[in-house]
C-alpha cells in the first residue's frame, strides 16, 4: 500500500527545492519547540505530581529577576526565529512571484471547469500544458467567470486566476515527466474535476510534439487577424489620427485622459479599453468606440492585447499627431 502512497511530493524546479529547504527549516524549528513543550509537560507533570490531597504548589515570585529573564527569553527567542522565517520566506516568495526577463509567455484561461492553454505559436490545449525542460515559462492567466487558482504541487506554487485581472505564474522545469495541475481555489460544483497535467519534455521532444500536434483545436486567429476581423484597424491606424489613438508604441507609456488623469497603457488598460471603451477616454478623442464585451473571448483578448503590445513604435510624424 505504501509504495503507492508517497509522503513527499516530487519536485520539478529549482524553486521547488528552495521551498523544501525553507520547509525543513520551519519543520526543525517546530519539532524542537513541540518536543520541548511536550517534554517539559511530561517532566513537570510527573516529577511534581500531587502526593497527598492537601498539597499545594510552591508559589513563584513573578517579580524575581529570574522570572523576568525567562519571560524576556521566551519572547525574544521565538521572535528572532520567526523573523528569520519571515525573511527567508519573503526572499523565496519574491523569486516565486517575479518571472525572469527571458521567460517565454504562455496563456492560460480558466473557466468553470477547465483550463485552456495557448502556446506562443498559437497551439491550444485543454487541461494539459506541454512545456520544454530548462526554459523559463511565464503564464499570463485570466478567468472567464469565478476565481480559480493554478496550482502545480511539483513547482510548489499557487497563483489565483481572477476574472477581469491578469495574474502571472512562472516556473523553470528541471525534470521531465507529468505533474499534477489542480485548481487550488474553490470554484463551484465541479471544482475537484478542474484538474490537469503539466508535461515537461526535452526541448527537442517538445519541438517534435509542437510540430505534430494535430489541429483538433485549431490555433486561434492571431492578434493581427482579430484586429482586422473586428475592424479595429478602421479607426486605430497609423494614418488616421482623428478618430482613435494610434496604438503603435503605446504599450507601457503614460496616456493622458480627457479628465486630466494619466494611466499607464498596460495589459489591464488595453483589455479594459476593448471591453469598456467609455471608461477611460484618451484626451482629444470622442467616446465613439463600441464595446466588444461578449464579442471577443478572453482567449482572443489575450491575443489582441499581445498584438497591441508588440506593435512597432510609430514614425516621428505619427508621434507628433498624438
Amino acid at each position: 500500500m505504501w509504495s503507492n502512497a508517497p509522503l513527499f511530493p516530487p519536485s520539478a524546479s529549482e524553486l521547488a527545492r528552495s521551498v523544501d529547504a525553507l520547509f525543513f527549516f520551519a519543520l526543525a524549528f517546530s519539532v524542537f519547540f513541540a518536543l520541548l513543550i511536550a517534554g517539559l509537560i511530561a517532566l513537570f507533570g510527573s516529577k511534581y505530581r500531587r502526593r497527598h490531597p492537601d498539597e499545594i504548589g510552591v508559589p513563584v515570585d513573578d517579580h524575581a529577576p529570574s522570572s523576568k529573564l525567562l519571560e524576556l527569553a521566551w519572547t525574544a527567542i521565538p521572535l528572532g526565529l520567526l523573523l528569520i522565517l519571515f525573511g527567508w520566506g519573503t526572499w523565496v516568495f519574491f523569486h516565486q512571484m517575479r518571472p525572469p526577463a527571458d521567460a517565454v509567455e504562455y496563456w492560460v484561461t480558466g473557466k468553470q471547469w477547465m483550463w485552456k492553454m495557448q502556446h506562443p505559436d498559437g497551439t491550444r490545449e485543454i487541461n494539459e500544458l506541454h512545456v520544454p525542460l530548462g526554459r523559463a515559462v511565464k503564464l499570463k492567466m485570466i478567468s472567464e467567470d469565478v476565481i480559480h487558482d493554478f496550482f502545480v504541487p511539483a513547482f510548489r506554487v499557487h497563483v489565483d486566476v481572477l476574472p477581469s485581472r491578469y495574474t502571472t505564474y512562472w516556473f523553470k522545469a528541471d525534470k521531465t515527466g507529468t505533474f499534477h495541475l489542480f485548481c487550488g481555489q474553490y470554484c463551484g460544483v465541479e471544482h475537484a474535476y478542474m484538474i490537469g497535467k503539466i508535461v515537461v519534455m526535452e526541448p527537442k521532444d517538445y519541438e517534435q510534439w509542437l510540430a505534430g500536434v494535430r489541429p483538433g483545436r485549431p490555433p486561434l486567429r492571431s492578434g493581427e487577424e482579430l484586429f482586422a476581423a473586428n475592424a479595429c484597424n478602421t479607426c486605430h491606424r497609423p494614418d488616421s489620427s482623428a478618430r482613435a489613438p494610434i496604438l503603435n508604441g503605446i504599450y507601457g507609456k503614460g496616456v493622458k485622459l480627457t479628465d486630466g488623469k494619466t494611466v499607464t497603457a498596460d495589459d489591464e488598460y488595453i483589455r479594459e479599453s476593448i471591453l469598456n471603451p467609455q471608461a477611460k477616454i484618451v484626451a482629444g478623442f470622442q467616446p465613439v468606440m463600441p464595446t466588444f464585451k461578449g464579442v471577443i473571448s478572453e482567449e482572443e483578448l489575450l491575443q489582441l492585447v499581445d498584438y497591441v503590445k508588440k506593435l512597432p513604435p510609430p514614425s516621428a510624424g505619427a508621434e507628433g499627431a498624438r
Partner: protein, 550 residues
Amino acid sequence: MSDPRTAATDPPGYAPVSYLNETWGLKSWLLTLDHKRIAILYLISVSFYFALGGLMAALIRVELATPQGDLVSPDWYNRLFTMHGVMMIFFFLIPAVPGVLGNFLLPLMIGAKDVAFPKLNLLSWYLYNIGALFAFWALLHGGVDTGWTFYTPLSTAYTNTHVIAVGLGIFINGFSSILAGVNFMVTIHRMRAPGQGWFRLPLFVWGMYATSLIQVLGTPVLAITILLLAAERLFHIGVFDPAYGGDPVLFQHFFWFYSHPAVYIMILPAMGVISEIVAAFARKRIFGYKFVAFASVGIATLGFLVWAHHMFVAGISIYAGAVFSILTMFVAVPSAVKVFNWTATLYKGSVLWETPMLYALGFIGVFVIGGLTGTMLATLGLDAHIHDTYFLVAHFHYVMVGSAVMGYLGGIHFWWPKLVGRLYPAFLSKFAAIVVFIGFNVTFFPQFLLGYLGMPRRYHTYPPEFQTLNVMSSAGATILGVGYLIPMLYLLWSLKWGPKASANPWGAVGLEWETTSPPPVHNFATSPVVTTEAYDYAARAARAEVPVGG
C-alpha cells in the same frame, strides 16, 4: 434515588435548592434573566449545532475514504463542507465558550449577582437561535455551496443555492455576538467585587474581555460585508462582481477583516479556560500572570492587522504580502508566551492528572502544533505551496477543533460540578479525554502530509496516491466521534445518577468555588470581597477555613 431535597448525606456545599430548581416550568427557562440558566440554554443550543456539524463532518470523511466521488454527488459534497463550516464556526465555535462558560462564570468569578444587562443577555440567546434557524432552514432546503467563505463572484453570480438565507442567519447571529460582547465588557468594568482590581481577575475573565473586544469591533464589519454581498447578488451593484465593474478581490479583504479575528474569538476564551484549569490542577498561581493577561489583549489587537495573510496568492501586491507576513509573525509571539507560561506553571506545582487537566494538557500539545504550522502558513514562500491545501485544513482544525473544542470540553468537565451539582465518572471521563486526543491527532495529522503532497481542500475526489493518508484520517475521525459521544452520554447520565458535588470538589481557588454547587439564584449568600490575587493557593492554605480537598 430519593428526592434530593430530603437527602441527609449531602456533601458540604451541595445545594438541594439552586438556580436549577427554584422555579419550574418551560416558561421559567425560556423567559429567564438568570445568566446561569441562559448558559444552560446556550449549552443545549450549541450542542445541537455541534452534533449537526459533526454529522456533516462524518459524511465528508466517509466520502473521502475512497478517491472516487461515490457517496454523494459533487454538488452535495460542496453543500456538506459549506454547511459543516457555517454550523461549526458561526453556531458552535463562536458562541460555545462565551455563551456557555462565559455566561455561567463571568458574574460568579467577579462576585456579581448577574451580568450588567440580563435582558440583553436573553435577547442574545434568542438572536443566536433565530440566526441559526435561518441557516438550519436553508440546510433543509438544499443548503449553500459556496464554502463558508462566500467568495465572490462565485457567491453572487454563479450559484443558485441559499446564499441570502444563510447570510441573513449569520447577520442576525452577529448581533447576538455584538450584544454579548458589550454585555460582558460592561459587566467586567462595572461589576467586579470590592477589592478585585484588574490584576486580581482570573485569566478567564481577561480572555473573555479580549474576546468581547473583537466581537464588538469586528462583527459590524461582517454585517456590512454580508449586506453588500446580498445587494450584489440581488441588485448587481458592482462592488464585488467584476462583470459590473467591481473588484474581484475586495470581498476577501472585507470578509477576512472579520473572519480572521473571529478565529481569536474562538481561541481566546478557550485559552482562558486553560489558564484556570492549569492553575487549579497545579495548585499554583499562573506563572507570569500579567504576561498571560496582556497576551490576550495583544492577540486581540494584533489579530485585526493580519487578515490579508489569507490572500498571499490572491493577486495582492507582494509587498503587501510581506507586511502581512511579518505582522502575522508578531501575533504568534503572545501565543507562544502563553504556552511557555502555562508550562512553567507546572514547575514545582502540585499536579493532578484529573480529566479537566488532561484536556488542558492536550490543548497545549495540539495548540503548539496548530500555532507552529500557523507560522509556516504565515511564511510567504511556504504559503505559496501549502495555501488552500489540506495542510491549511489540518492547521486550522488543530487550532479550532484540537484547541478550541478541547478547551471547551476541559471547561465543561472542570465546572460541571458547579453547573449541575453532580460529578461524572472519573475513570470513564479520563478514558474519553485520551480517546479524543488520539482520535483528533489520527484524524488531522495525516492531513498535514496530504497538504504538503498537494491535495487541495474542498475536493470531492482526489488522485489515488492520496488514499492511504485519507483512510487514516477517516479512521481517526471515527475514533474522535466515539471520543465526543462518551462525554455526551456520561454527562447526561450524571444529571440523575451522578454523585452530588461539594462546593469545591477540586480544591480550587476562585469566587465561583466559594458558593454552593449548584449556585443559588443570586449566586452568593453574602457579597464576596476580594483580598488576595487570583490563584493565591498559599493564602488559602494558610486560612485553612475550608480544607483544600473540599
